[in-house]
């Protein structure tokens, strides 16, 4: 048997068993809901993978997921649990929309740069709150990021229902349409937009920095053992704040990308839980860059399947959350080698 096969036989087998278990459990769940699991699986596969349009939509959905997964992965590297990508996504969309709506007369590249920066600042500021509170040693970041997720949509709601509401469409609470200079360019005939390439770009930078740079080494040192890192002279508190802000900035970028590329205006329903999906992706990939790429594709497939099931099986979209929870349950229940902590 060739060497690489021997090395990959067991991990591959484990992965296959995991996938089979997940499909089986969700199939059982579909049966209990009175649906035909075989037909449901066939429908989701043919309409999302075999169909070129479905496949391109799947890649479109990867754009926010790559970025929100990075928003979780970067704080994860310094030992933080960022469950707040959802809120950082909303705040990025908010500040980015401000730049899109209130700045006029700039050429498109400059305007896009401006709104991308504004979106990143919005996310970074929202990430800085839990980051600062944690760096000062006051409050654990997990609980603050979760609470801030409930505040962010209220802030967006205040602007969308209030000062920014478009007068011409009084029935729908949303802002006026962005000017053409503030729309993300996309590849002709698809909705594949700049955001996806920005996601790949930042993923590559992350992969390089984390394994090949002094910064990555310091971050991993802080994540591994903060006390040892502090004795070595690494500014642990500064890294905690920086990691949360950079993570927040990327989630904010995902937010403004989604608004400027897909919706063209700010409204309430811009995220079907991209922040939480980013958390799931990072957990499955364990902050590994290649893993993030693969798992983003997988989760994008699941999210798209949710819409297919909604149409073909008349299942509420929430069924996707059940499927994601089942995946997380299955992965968490997998036996581990002794002494390894998840």
């Amino acid at each position: 048997m060739p060497n690489f096969l021997r090395r990959w036989k067991w991990p591959a087998l484990r992965l296959i068993v995991t996938v089979v278990v997940i499909l089986g459990v969700f199939g059982l769940f579909l049966l209990l809901m009175g649906k035909d699991p075989i037909k449901a699986y066939r429908d989701t596969f043919t309409s999302n993978v075999l169909n070129p349009r479905g496949l391109s939509e799947l890649v479109v959905r990867m754009a926010p997921l790559l970025l929100t997964a990075l928003a979780v992965a970067i704080p994860f590297r310094v030992g933080l649990i960022n469950v707040g990508a959802e809120g950082q996504f909303m705040l990025g969309a908010l500040l980015g929309s401000w730049a899109a709506l209130n700045v006029q007369g700039l050429p498109q590249p400059l305007h896009l740069l401006l709104l991308i920066l504004a979106g990143m600042v919005g996310g970074a500021l929202w990430g800085a709150i839990p980051g600062l509170l944690r760096a000062l040693g006051w409050i654990n970041e997990t609980i603050t990021t979760l609470l801030l997720n409930y505040l962010a949509p209220l802030i967006v709601g205040y602007f969308v229902f209030g000062p920014w509401r478009a007068p011409e469409l009084a029935m729908y609470p949303q802002t006026p349409e962005f000017p053409p200079t503030a729309r993300f360019p996309s590849i002709a005939g698809t909705r594949l937009h700049l955001g996806f390439f920005l996601g790949l770009f930042f993923l590559a930078i992350y992969a390089y920095l984390i394994s090949r740079s002094r910064w990555g080494l310091e971050m991993r040192a802080v994540g591994g053992n903060p006390e040892a890192a502090r004795r070595l002279g690494i500014p642990v508190e500064r890294w905690i704040l920086v990691a949360m802000m950079v993570g927040g900035a990327l989630a904010g970028l995902a937010g403004i990308a989604e608004v400027a590329a897909i919706h063209g205006r700010l409204k309430m329903a811009i995220s079907p839980g991209y922040g939480f999906m980013g958390f799931l992706i990072n957990w499955l990939a364990f902050a590994n860059p290649v893993g993030i790429l693969i798992m983003s594709f997988l989760v994008a497939f699941i999210a798209s399947s949710g819409f297919t099931l909604q149409i073909t099986q008349r299942l509420p979209y929430a069924a996707v959350n059940v499927l994601m929870a089942l995946i997380l349950f299955t992965v968490l229940a997998k036996p581990l080698a002794k002494g390894v902590q998840r």
């Binding site: 040693g137 603050t144 205040y158 929870a325």
Partner: protein, 297 residues
Amino acid sequence: MSWFLSWLSGAILYAAPILYPTLGEVVEQRTGMVNLGLEGLMLLGASVSFAVSYITKNPWLGILAAMATGLAANLVYAWLVVHRNASQLAAGLALMFFGIGMSALLGKPYVGQMAAYLPKYPLLGSQSLIFRYDLLVFLAFFLAPLVWFFLFRTRWGLKLRAVGESPAIAYAAGVSPGLVRYLAAAFAGICAAVGGAHLSIGITGTWSEGMTAGRGFIAIALVIFSRWNPLRAIVGALVFGGAVVLQLQLQAQGIGVSAFLMDMIPYVLTVLVLLVWGRGVRHVAPASLGRVYFGTE
């Protein structure tokens, strides 16, 4: 004065659905387990109790069904944490995902319906229109001192807290950490689901998706505020209930502030409470909180 009384009356009512999950989480964290899945458990309790109460016209059957659901769901969490050595944070968030999705699925046919309420009884004279509560409200304020007595004045409570401080030493003293954690998770699951059920068939009488609006996470914040003490949890729950009612009253009076800004009050208050009282609690917290116990070899 009458304004103040009706505020107080409402604060007590809205304290109950947050006090249940807080008490459950206090017990669970006292055994060393952080459960971020409270939000999911509350939503499950709210939707299951509403559906059962709607179908059977009996709210008490709804409460029972919610208790069974919360128990079963949280035992899955405990199994992952105790037997599969899973990360508590990830297992809790998986439970949150599950609860959000499953409750939305189960509750879908009942959006916009009204279910049978829990009956209300007056606390003061029978003429009084305020201070009328269902039995679950009375029970919540009775349960808190009971849990306190159990934790701090009984042998079983001592064993439970020993597991939270050091599972290995508790094991050496003849206590099974796994069993204690399962029992604590069972209690917490029931409590969180009852809290959610009280919200849907005790207070609003309706079901809507995500109706707990982060109360599961606020309860975790209140556990930190209460310093893992059930009696202080009452204070926290009343402060939160008071904030909710204040916001409702201000909205009812139609002051010219956006409802979105008013809705922020409870969350901002929770973060502020954590900021003022949540600092430096590490020495009070159970020592093994959040750690995986791999067993003693």
